[in-house]
């Protein structure tokens, strides 16, 4: 009850204040540049998250609001306390309130009339930005390192094709000339030059040439076999198609959403966690409802975007596991990311650039050991390591993971 009484008192004093204020100021929308720029600053700071001038967002587009609303005075009252205007039974206020799913605008009680009028001035003077002359699509990025790998491959392939064509054309010219010269009477020396003993067939049958070809083919084959044998049981580059085409490039790359926002287990436990769909729904209740991929989330969790309600019919999303460390080795994410302070990208590669995630690292024992030999122990601000750091001072060099038992068999195999 105490809250209610206090709130009531606040409410009435506020109402009184608003009434006294609103009647004591002029209610013309200013047109001077100073007011407009002040209004722009206020608009960007406070209104922009829900309103745009020229398009509907959470709230209506504000363009023309000065003509649409019942009066300027009404707008002033509304901005300061929308709840009160709605409660007063005002027809227009209730119409908007119902039109926007009964979501109420935040009250900006601290605003003076001048401030609100300057925002209106900005809205009135607002001109939509000219669509800037967009740089031609597909143009290489500025700077020296602009040519992408794809372009380079195309250029090289084109050059090879041109070279092969030139060899063919030259061969044709040579044979044509030879035929032409043989029709004439030639002395012996000239005939020897024209009908050289080194023909294409004599070269291909020479033992040197055969050896060269066999050697090249055999060494390429040998390398492929060795590579193949070494990659048995190693799943590097495994990039399976997932049930929902989630793009890390968009979410982690462009939107800069932190890996740990979704993979919540990474600081706390062995597994980094595949995020549960409720994390998707933090945004996707609003964004891209119509996308077929998002519809898959909705059907998995039983969400009806039209009524924004849950049906209760649930069905797990069967993501395909990419990183499979063998059962014989133990790995803990928290130990490496939380205590060791290792970046996700160190092992998982540039996931923020991957449209489809692939296994970036080898995940072989040699790969683990290599890192344990090279990496310094992250002992800053961690009292656990105080004694070890003290003891290690005697020896030269920094304290590596191998110095604190990072190469012991039983650290990972037990």
């Amino acid at each position: 009850m105490k809250y209610k009484l206090a709130d009531l008192i606040k409410f009435f004093t506020l109402a009184l204040l608003i009434l006294s204020y609103s009647s004591s100021f002029s209610q013309e929308i200013p047109t001077d540049a100073a007011s407009i720029s002040a209004g722009e600053a206020l608009f960007n700071g406070n209104c922009k998250s829900c309103h745009r001038v020229d398009k509907k967002l959470v709230g209506p587009a504000l363009a023309g609001v000065q003509d649409r609303a019942p009066s300027i005075k009404w707008i002033l009252e509304w901005v300061k306390n929308p709840a009160k205007v709605i409660a007063s039974g005002d027809e227009y206020a209730n119409k908007i309130y119902n039109e926007y799913n009964k979501s109420q605008m935040t009250a900006f009680t601290s605003y003076t009339d001048t401030q609100i009028l300057s925002i209106l001035a900005y809205v009135k003077a607002y001109k939509p930005e000219e669509p800037a002359a967009a740089p031609a699509a597909g143009a290489p990025a500025a700077g020296g390192a602009g040519i992408s790998n794809d372009y380079l491959n195309v250029i090289i392939a084109g050059m090879i094709l041109i070279l092969v064509l030139m060899v063919v054309i030259l061969g044709l010219i040579v044979s044509a000339l030879k035929r032409f010269l043989n029709q004439k009477d030639l002395n012996e020396d000239d005939a020897e030059v024209v009908n050289s003993p080194y023909s294409v067939s004599s070269i291909t049958r020479s033992s040197g040439f055969i050896f060269l070809v066999v050697f090249v083919v055999a060494s390429i084959g040998f390398k492929q076999v060795i590579d193949g044998l070494y990659s048995i049981g190693v799943q590097q580059d495994y990039a399976p198609k997932q049930p929902i085409a989630f793009s890390h490039k968009l979410h982690a790359g462009a939107y800069e959403i932190n890996c740990k926002y979704c993979h919540t287990g990474v600081l706390k436990g062995k597994q980094a966690n595949i995020p549960s769909p409720n994390i998707c729904m933090n945004c996707h209740t609003q964004i891209k409802q119509e996308s077929p991929e998002i519809q898959k989330i909705y059907s998995a969790i039983g969400y009806d975007p039209k009524t924004a309600s849950y049906t209760g019919k649930q069905k797990p999303i069967e993501w395909v596991r990419i990183h499979n460390l063998p059962d014989l080795a133990y790995f803990n994410h928290a130990q490496h990311v939380n205590v060791g302070g290792i970046e996700c990208q160190t092992c998982h590669g540039p996931v923020q650039e991957m449209e489809v995630v692939r296994q970036y690292s080898l995940l072989t024992m040699g790969w683990c050991i290599d890192c344990h030999r090279k990496t310094d122990v992250n002992n800053k601000g961690n009292d656990y390591y105080n004694k070890l750091t003290e003891l290690h001072k005697a020896s030269k060099g920094k304290m590596k993971v191998e110095d604190i038992g990072g190469l012991e068999c039983a650290k990972c195999h037990y």
């Binding site: 829900c50 076999v225 968009l250 063998p326």
Partner: protein, 218 residues
């Protein structure tokens, strides 16, 4: 004869070279029964009863790699905790019991942070780390409501959506919110903001609240 041996050689090369993983193919496994956990692992599940019978069959007649908990719904190895389970954290705190409604929010306004007046750099640094993890992509590095998600992005000339209604925490409407209010809103969400209680621990929520208040002062 010579041609046959050549073809055989080529076949061996091709077969061995194709052990490598790529795309949907996970590559050849040499000793699969050492790779797949027989015990239940939370994020792995092999539902095929016969999977791995070529190496060995278990006593129950199932394949070697069958490691699926048939008693759980959808045969998942991971389950949601039973209802009414209460988890305490390292400080022994019980879960937040404020309700997800206007009364709850009004009560939360008066809540006092368990960190009391401790605004040491350590708490603020932890709050900053948590803020960067959970808040920054929408609310922006300086809490100006200008994170990438709120601004929208463009990839290869294609515009991607803007999340509407991201609060500018430095705006006048939010200047006077209390730490308890921030804590409550992170837990349950408000307006268009989703509930983040499942992701952000209670401790982190209070630290974020403290950090946001410090951002608002600058």
């Amino acid at each position: 004869m010579r041609g046959l041996s050549l073809i055989l050689c080529a076949a061996v090369v091709i077969i061995l070279a194709s052990c490598k993983a790529s795309g949907d193919y996970p590559g050849l496994e040499y000793a699969p029964n050492m790779y797949h956990s027989v015990a239940y692992e939370p994020l792995s599940q092999i539902t095929d009863l016969d999977h791995g019978t070529f190496t060995n069959a278990l006593d129950n007649g199932r394949g070697e790699f069958y490691n699926t908990n048939q008693y759980n719904p959808y045969k998942m190895n991971l389950r949601t905790p039973p209802a009414h389970v209460v988890r305490r954290n390292a400080h022994g705190w019980l879960p937040y019991r404020g309700t997800n409604d206007t009364t709850g929010l009004r009560m939360a306004n008066k809540l006092v942070s368990p960190f009391k007046n401790d605004s040491t750099p350590a708490i603020l640094a932890q709050g900053k780390a948590a803020y960067e993890m959970y808040c920054q992509h929408c609310h922006g590095a300086k809490a100006g409501g200008d994170g990438k998600v709120a601004q929208g992005v463009k990839i290869d000339g294609v515009e991607h959506g803007v999340y509407p209604g991201v609060a500018n925490l430095k705006g006048d409407a939010y200047k006077n919110i209390t730490e308890g209010h921030i804590f409550h809103v992170i837990t349950y969400g408000k307006g268009l903001m989703g509930a983040h209680g499942s992701q952000v621990s209670e401790e982190d929520r209070w630290k974020i609240a403290r950090y946001v208040k410090s951002l608002q002062k600058n």
